[in-house]
Subunit: 370 residues, 4 copies
Amino acid sequence: MTTTELELVPASAAPLSTATNMKALVYHGPAQRAWEDKPRPIIQDAGDAIVRITTSTICGTDLHILKGDLPAVIDGRILGHEGIGVVEQVGVGVSEFQVGDKVIISCVSACLKCDFCKKGMYSHCRHGGWILGYTIDGTQAEYVRIPHADGSLYHFPADADEEAMVMLSDILPTGFECGVLNGEVKPGDSVAIVGAGPVGLAVLLTAQFYSPAAIFMIDLDDKRLAVAKEFGATTLINSSDGRAAQRVLDLTEGAGVDVVIEAVGIPATFNICQAIVAAGGRIANVGVHGKPVELHLEKLWDRNIAITTRLVDTVTTPMLLKVVRSGKLQPSKLVTHRFALNDIMRAYDTFGNAAKEGALKVVLTNSAAG
Amino acid sequence: MTTTELELVPASAAPLSTATNMKALVYHGPAQRAWEDKPRPIIQDAGDAIVRITTSTICGTDLHILKGDLPAVIDGRILGHEGIGVVEQVGVGVSEFQVGDKVIISCVSACLKCDFCKKGMYSHCRHGGWILGYTIDGTQAEYVRIPHADGSLYHFPADADEEAMVMLSDILPTGFECGVLNGEVKPGDSVAIVGAGPVGLAVLLTAQFYSPAAIFMIDLDDKRLAVAKEFGATTLINSSDGRAAQRVLDLTEGAGVDVVIEAVGIPATFNICQAIVAAGGRIANVGVHGKPVELHLEKLWDRNIAITTRLVDTVTTPMLLKVVRSGKLQPSKLVTHRFALNDIMRAYDTFGNAAKEGALKVVLTNSAAG
Amino acid sequence: MTTTELELVPASAAPLSTATNMKALVYHGPAQRAWEDKPRPIIQDAGDAIVRITTSTICGTDLHILKGDLPAVIDGRILGHEGIGVVEQVGVGVSEFQVGDKVIISCVSACLKCDFCKKGMYSHCRHGGWILGYTIDGTQAEYVRIPHADGSLYHFPADADEEAMVMLSDILPTGFECGVLNGEVKPGDSVAIVGAGPVGLAVLLTAQFYSPAAIFMIDLDDKRLAVAKEFGATTLINSSDGRAAQRVLDLTEGAGVDVVIEAVGIPATFNICQAIVAAGGRIANVGVHGKPVELHLEKLWDRNIAITTRLVDTVTTPMLLKVVRSGKLQPSKLVTHRFALNDIMRAYDTFGNAAKEGALKVVLTNSAAG
Amino acid sequence: MTTTELELVPASAAPLSTATNMKALVYHGPAQRAWEDKPRPIIQDAGDAIVRITTSTICGTDLHILKGDLPAVIDGRILGHEGIGVVEQVGVGVSEFQVGDKVIISCVSACLKCDFCKKGMYSHCRHGGWILGYTIDGTQAEYVRIPHADGSLYHFPADADEEAMVMLSDILPTGFECGVLNGEVKPGDSVAIVGAGPVGLAVLLTAQFYSPAAIFMIDLDDKRLAVAKEFGATTLINSSDGRAAQRVLDLTEGAGVDVVIEAVGIPATFNICQAIVAAGGRIANVGVHGKPVELHLEKLWDRNIAITTRLVDTVTTPMLLKVVRSGKLQPSKLVTHRFALNDIMRAYDTFGNAAKEGALKVVLTNSAAG
């Protein structure tokens, strides 16, 4: 323990166990990952907390990293930005959490102090944002350092279910904020969700907070559409014949739908969105796009529509926590596979073949912890 | 007067003068227009009013029609969708206006009864919308028939100035609704307006209702920029060197601006908008686009922005009337040229050479009226 | 048929049956009502429709009228402001409805043209508002004249249930607009509804459109509370011991609730609302008050709260129609008793003893119609 | 310097000058105040900053304290919650400010981490709120300790005017947030402000951000009304004859005004507000009330109004800073008197006789500092 760390940790803090190594899922360049030994993280800043991971999960973004799509991720980086755990140590500037607290880790780290944080745009925090498992080490490990802990952790509710709660790290706020809130879903609305993957399904679950009258689910995969049906979609449209947009227009007497939510991230799906948005409607983009799309302003300039983009801010986590606790939302529906954390290499294999495996979210449990 | 009309006009209505012809500006196919005799309009529906025009004006859209860009406009159509006049006759279903009332004619006709009108989207009225001088005869004439008169006319305030008030027919609500309201301009905001033509200047005037801290005006023409300066722009940027976007970024320390308003309608100007919108900002499109634009979702997907489109609804006309009457807005600033209505052929020549003539709005006065 | 009427009715309209009398529930001063003969209504204005009633109901306000609390109601007035029926005749200015259309009658008549209607405040319409069964004859009759028909009627959905739809005339929009929308209920919120009568229960049903986490229902009557439980309330509080406010505070760790909805209309219930509203919360008043209340600004001035009042505008009827049709709301739950329309005198007896009879809404069916 | 403080201050921090005493305005019970020696404040918590005061001012609330109206203020308390100064020392948890930074001190201390702060309700911060010069020592001193410095200080803009900027500590955000924002002033609105004291005038200045068409200013004092005229009020009403409400109604053809802002805090002024609010309007309470008011729900229940209360949150300080810097607001207009900080006893005398002295804000400059 360095001198610096000594100053940053309150005198009353429990001493960290003397073992200084841990196991972690480490990125070693495109298609290279390993479950290997890494030094345990230590407090580096007054606002840091060290959290022992009890539950983690894998995100589609982790697969993108492994494809090499995000060059900002360097060799040696521990992946993962979702998790549940127990606070092991806190910096002297942390006031909302104590050693021993069980916590939900948010995928976005928020200093709460910069101009963006003050506006509720944690995603663009000048000192944080999405950094876990991206520009700093992440949560697919036995321990993780969480900067700006007071803005990035949430108290785990007594008697709650870890599997459900880990969905609050990323996927539920992403679907809710980028899709449902930006889409401004209202009672009686018609909603179309393009993409029935885990994020699209998170949109589907949280859109129902506002009692839309109809939810069209559009995907290429009938198995995913069947899951959507179970989760509350009212109309299923398989888009593999290229006629999805026409079908939505036919079903709405040519009017289109009030709210269209893009949950894939490619030009083809964005095109469906443009084609089916009703006059006065909204397109809420959730998908991560790698190239430009052609926007048909020559058709849309007089349609009174809005198109929104958003990186999840996780500002709605407190609200989502209240809804989950009230029983009005069962996020563990999204969990299809379960592994021990130290079996994460196999979990990645399964999640990497999601279509074949029927995988949505894959939960990792650290049985050594707890 | 037909039997049908007899039933539609209240018994107490003043008899329409016996003359049945009038002069009007008539479209005869691309580049063909004439000031010629046409029959006076008559009441066709219970909600109609016949208005004797005292002031009219020409819109950039009229020039588009003359270029043949709007094929829905047929040979023989009287152009014009802006005007001030006096009610000559009303249908039996009209309750808010009487013969002799001086009125402002809105460019959008609103039935007030359909689902779109009830939502305040008069632009998409199922029985109206923009029809004047487009699919029915318009206001560049001695008389005009106004359908849905109760939703399409406004009482002319006592002692107001016709020249100022005719700007409420179209250009001010267009700038205000499509640009300022959709852009959600707030006190202290930075705003960029791309295009310093009449509509861009209407945006500029009405954006100041909300006390933004900075207004960047971007245009190719230094003369128009000079007008913008006079109208309240705080920074002028001539975009002819292709470096406008970079200049805005430099002036904002790379952050971009909170609200960007597109008032031209071509890909090049939309591209400037995309490049300068700040994280968390908004692009409000006002321009009429003839072709698609490339939307850089690969850069914008995580920027928490909104892009809006809108055809003017003219729902804010009552608000604008109150602001104009309070003296906080002088719309006659937009008027650069004045002609007699029967000199409209020459007025078109001037307006058609707006850049050379330094023309913004060209006002036409029917001296025979009043 | 008078000359005036002749002009107001389209030539193509079906001739009204020759019978000129009908049966109606008539007010003859405090505590005096009779089911008696009255002349059938006729078109008086271009915007009128004559509707043959198929279903009607009785409102708590009708009982207030019978107590003499609303002196604006004159001897001879036909009561009732709720109903379903079939259009028999329309004035020449009516465009959205035709003879033979089945319609829902809104309790509020909206001209759609005045400043208040244009702002969506139909309740304060300068030519309408609540007038049916109040200042003009109402719907507890075989026929009724509906002024401003285009703004006051709604198309009855094919295959819908009349019993459910008649709840859209008044009680559902009242609970939703005055209580839920003004209260700004959000997902995860805690909500308290003071008063479990029909209106309070309409609030309860429609509050659930927004997925609040907890709904406290407060009333003096355990039977009504039991109904509330069935309708989705999460906590029941019998206020007869005068400790309701304290109990809510205890259950919320002293914080109070986010949204408090007053659905009674007396100082005692308003006092509960003041005592339990959380900092940052809202009190939405739905109840009709006969006297002032003491507002504790000395405690509330720094609590960042809002108190709202509202007479129902019925602007949300189209939205409510969509939700009801989607199956997300079953308004017929509110119906406890059914009578033939010509048995309305007995229906009033039952509804007048609501507590004893366990009556919520009492539906009246005109079996002669249809 | 205690051991605790040692740990809380970064090693790199400039050593605090060795002098350990300072001068301060100290409360010694009702009507007892003294400019006397007190120990200089020291860092007590990781989030603290010590600020050397360069400019301070006196608030009406300070006079309330001296009357004994706020018993939570104990003997020995240093008063004052407004000020400009220079950071002398920061705790280890402070990240946004450094020693030597010139800062604006907000009257509200915000931890930024609690549920209320995350909702933007800094006024109800669980670890802060209004505490300066109330429950902890304040700014009418040579030095002050500012807890939660990152949420409670703002960077002083280069070249700005201290006199103008000290108005951002309290009075401008109070008028703007509690009055203008809660009142939802819109372009073209009619606004009435009841009370032309410093806070009412701050409302008047900031209401003009939104271009209302008319601003009625109501007060008992013609001198204050004359100031209001100069500041932009369009109609002045002296309420000393008890006919202010009637006059407003006469001037608005009985309709009342869209937004009414209470800036006094007594039943008589609140009654004026109730009497003049238009249907659909809002009453925004800014005044501090000591007793209940009679709320005429029997007249207001169906008027579709809102009444709001608020303790200033100071969340709009960044926005106000931008507007002030743009030159659209000159807050130093509010300053009528200037004193040296060590002449504060005399400044209190002047401010305590505000009516006679024509005093609005009294600025105190610490000439020793800077």
